[in-house]
C-alpha cells in the first residue's frame, strides 16, 4: 500500500497505538484491559506499520523474531509464577513489593510481570501471524 498519505500517517498511528497499548496493559488490573488486549493493540499497530512499509521494515523495527518475543513473554509469565518458589508460597502467588523511587511508592507485582508476559506473547504471536500472511501476500 505504497501511498504517500498512508506512509506519512502510519508511523504516527503506530507510535500512538503502541503507547496506547502500554496504557491499556498497565491499567488492566483495575479497569478493562490488560496484557491480552494491550498485546492485540500493539500487534495491530505493527500490522498497520507493516501494511504501510512492508514486512521487512517491521522485522527491523522489532529487532527480534516475533516468535522469540512470544517465547520471551511465555517464559516471563512462567517465571512470574515461579518466583513464589523462593518464598515458599504456591505457584503463581501474587507477590507485591512497594519500593520507593525518588520519594514515590511504586507498586510492583509478580502479577504485573505475568500480564507483561501475556502482552509479549500476544504481541509476538499475532505479529508473527500478520507478518507471515503479509509476506505471502507479497510474493
Amino acid at each position: 500500500m505504497n501511498t504517500l498519505i498512508f506512509r506519512t500517517v502510519a508511523p504516527f498511528i503506530t507510535a500512538l497505538m503502541l503507547l496506547f497499548s502500554l496504557f491499556i496493559l498497565l491499567r488492566g488490573h483495575n479497569e478493562p484491559g490488560g496484557g491480552f488486549i494491550g498485546g492485540l493493540i500493539a500487534a495491530s499497530a505493527l500490522a498497520i506499520y507493516g501494511i504501510a512499509f512492508g514486512v521487512e521494515a517491521v522485522r527491523r523495527a522489532i529487532r527480534f523474531h516475533p516468535l522469540a518475543i512470544a517465547g520471551f513473554g511465555l517464559l516471563l509469565s512462567c517465571l512470574a509464577g515461579l518466583i513464589s518458589i523462593v518464598f515458599a508460597v504456591p505457584f503463581m502467588t501474587g507477590l507485591w513489593v512497594y519500593p520507593v523511587l525518588a520519594g514515590v511508592e511504586v507498586p510492583l507485582s509478580s502479577v504485573m510481570l505475568f500480564d507483561l508476559g501475556v502482552y509479549f506473547v500476544v504481541l509476538g504471536a499475532v505479529a508473527s501471524i500478520a507478518l507471515a500472511l503479509e509476506e505471502r501476500e507479497a510474493d
Binding site: 478493562p32 490488560g34 491480552f36 505475568f114 504471536a125 500472511l133
Partner: protein
Amino acid sequence: MADVTALTFLALCLPLIGALVAPFIIRAFGAGGAWLLAVAPLLAFLHFLHLVPQIAQGEIITGGYDWVPGLGLRFSWFLDGLSLTFALLITGIGTLIVLYAGGYLKGHPDHGRFFSFIFLFMGAMLGVVVSDSFLMFFIFWELTSITSFLLIGFDHEREAARRAALQALVVTGGGGLLLLAGLLLLWGQTGVAQLSELMPFGDVVRGSPLYFATLLLVLAGAFTKSAQFPFHFWLPNAMEAPTPVSAYLHSATMVKAGVYLLMRLNPVMGATPAWETLLPVFGGLTLVTGSVLAIRQTDLKLKLAYTTVSSLGLLVLLTGFGSDYAIEAAALYLVAHSLFKGALFMIAGIIDHETGTRNITRLRGLRKAMPLTFTIAMAAALSMAGLPPFFGFLAKEEIYTAIAGSDLYPILVTAIAVFANALMFAIAFAVGLRPFVGRLVETPKHPHEAPVLLWLGPAVLALAGPLAALFSGVTHSAISSPMASAIAGAPKELSISLTPHIGLPLALSLLTILLGIAVYWQLDRSRTFVAYVLHSARGPDRGFDHFIAGLVRFAHGVIGVVQPRRLDLYVACTFVCVAAILLVPLVTHDGLPLGLVWPTDLRLREAGIMLIAMLGLIAVLIARDRLTAIVSLGIQGFAVALIFLLFGAPDLAFTQFMVETLAVVILALVMTRLRLSPTDSRHGARRLFDIALSLACGLGFALLLMRATEAPFNSALSDFFNAHSKLIAHGANVVNVIIVDFRGTDTLGEIAVVAVTGLAILALIRIRGNTERRLATNDPDAEEA
C-alpha cells in the same frame, strides 16, 4: 538334597536358557553344538525322571513362586501322573529332537535361531503341562501357538509356509482366546484359579447354569489345538515346518495340549451327557477324517500328519468315554503314540534328507542303502500298527477293551475304531516298510545311511516302545497308572501286559490287522479311490483362505462405510450424535425446562442488538460472496460484543471487539488470493436434513441452557472473588484479577495456546510441501533439497 521347588523351577527355565544361548553356541560350534544344547532338556528330563517314584506313589508335587499376586496368580506347578508323563515326553523327546535338528539343519543360515525357537517352544509346552494356575496355563498355551507360528513359518520364503504359520496362529490362537473365556468362567463359578484346587468343585461346575457355555469354550480351545474336526486342517499344513518341528510339535507334544486339557478337566467337567456326547462324536469324526485323508496322501510327512489327526481323534474319543478302560487306554495310547509317531516323523525326515524326496510313490528299496533306518522304521511302524511286542499293542488292546466294555453306541463306535485302526495299520507300513522294500528307484539325491545325529533320536524312541511293553509292570506303575489316575480323578491301576488275553478285544485286534493288511495291499488303489471321492469336496482348508480373504474384504467394506472419507459426512454424523445426546436425555430424564418465562423488562436496545445479531447470522447464511459473509460475520460478532457491553461485561466486550475485528481482518487477508465463494450449494434432501439437524442441535442447546439456568445459582465463587479481589489481590477489575491471579494458571495455558498458534501458522505458511514427493520413504533427508 536340593530343594525340589528350586530345581523344578530351574528345570522349567532350562529351555529358556537354551533359547538364549543357542544362537551363540551354534555360531561357535556349528552343528556339533547340538550335543551341548541337548544337555538342557536332558537335565530337565532327568529331573522329572527322578520325581517319578514319588508320583508313582500317588503324591502330587506342587510348588511355585508369587507372580502376579494382584490377580491371585502364582508361577506354580502341579505335578501328578498326567503332567509328569507329559513333562517326561516333552523333555525326553525334546532332547532327541535337539540332536536330530543338529543334524537335520546342519549348515542352515538360521540354524541358531531355529534352536531358539525350538527351545522356546519346549519351554512353553512344558509350561502348559505343569501349570497350576489357569492364567499361567493360558499364557503358556498361547506361547505354544506363537512359537509354533515361528517354527511353521521358519521356511518363510515359501508362501505355503507363511500360510500354514498364519493358519496355525489363527486357529490355535483364536481357540485359545475362547479357552481363556472358558477358564475365566470356571474361575468365576468356582472362585478358584488353580487347577489343583479345582478338583473338589466338579459338582459346582457341572451344576452351574453356565456349564454348557463353559464346556463349549473349553472344547473350542482344546479342539483347535488338538486339530479336531473341523479344525483338523491346520495340522497337516503345519508340515511346512522343518521335519524336526513336525516330529516334535505336531505329533509328540503341542497337538496333545488339547488332549491334555481335556484329560485334566475330565474329573471336573466330565461325566455329563454333553461331555460324553461332544467328545466322542468329534473325536470319532476326527478319527475317521484323519484316517481317510491319510490314505489319500503321497507325501510321507502328510500321511503321518493325517494319522496324527486321527490319533488325536481317538484320544479325544477315549477321553470322552469316561470309563475306566477308556481312560487307561487313552493314557497308554498317548504315550505310545508319542514314541512311535516321533520316531516315524524323524524317519520321514531322514528319508527326505537323504533322498531329496518324500513322495511315497517315488521311494522304493531303500533298505540296502539305509539298513539302520529301515530297522528303526519297522520298529516304530509295528508299534503304530499295534502289533506285539510293542507298546502300541498294549494301547490298542486297552482301547478295544474300553470300547467293548462300554455301553455307549457300541456297534457304531466299534466299527469306526476298527476301520480307522485298520487304516492306520496300513499307513504304518506304508511309511515304515514300503519305502524300504522292493526295487530301488531313482531319487533326487543318492541315498545313504544317515549320520548319528539323525538316527539317534528315532532309534531311542523306537527302542523305548518294545522296552516299555516288555516291562509293562514298571511302565504301568511308574507312568500309566498315575496318569490314568490323574485323568480319572481317582486311583487307577493298570494291568494290561503282553500276555495274550482271549476275548472280544483280541478278536477285534485280529480283525483290524486283517483289514489293515488288505488296505496296505491295495494302497495305491485305495488312494486313488479316496482321491476320487474327495475330488470336488471343499475342505475347511480351502475355507480358511476364503475366511481370510473374505474377512479382509468384509473389513474393507465395513471401513468404507464407517469411514466415508468425506468431512461433511463426518461432521453430519457427529452432529447427529450431538442432537441425540441433547434431546434424548431431555425427554427420558425429565430435562425439559419447567416453564418459559418471557422477560417483561426487555429493553428496546437489547431487542435491537439481538435483532442485529440475528440479521448478521442470516446474512452469513445467505451470503452469496465471501466478503458479504465475512462482513456479516463481523456484524454478528459486534452484536455479541454489544450484548456483553449491555450486560455488564466490559472486558468481554473489549476483547470481543478486538478479536472479532482481527478475525475479520485475518479472514480477509487469508482470502485475498482465493477465488472462493461461500455460496451454499446444498439442495433438496441434504439441505432439509442439514437444516433439521442444525435446528435440532440448536433446540437441544437452548433447552439445556434454559433448564440449567432455572435452578438456583451457587454464587460462592463469585462472592469470594468480589470479596478478595481488592483487599488481597489489589485489583479493582475483578475479571482481570481472576485472569491474572485467582485463575492465572488458565491464562498461562491460554497464552501457551496463543504462542503455539503463532508458531503453527508460521510453519503452515512457510513450509512449502513438495507435492510430488511422498512421505513414503520416511527419509528426512529426502525432503530438503
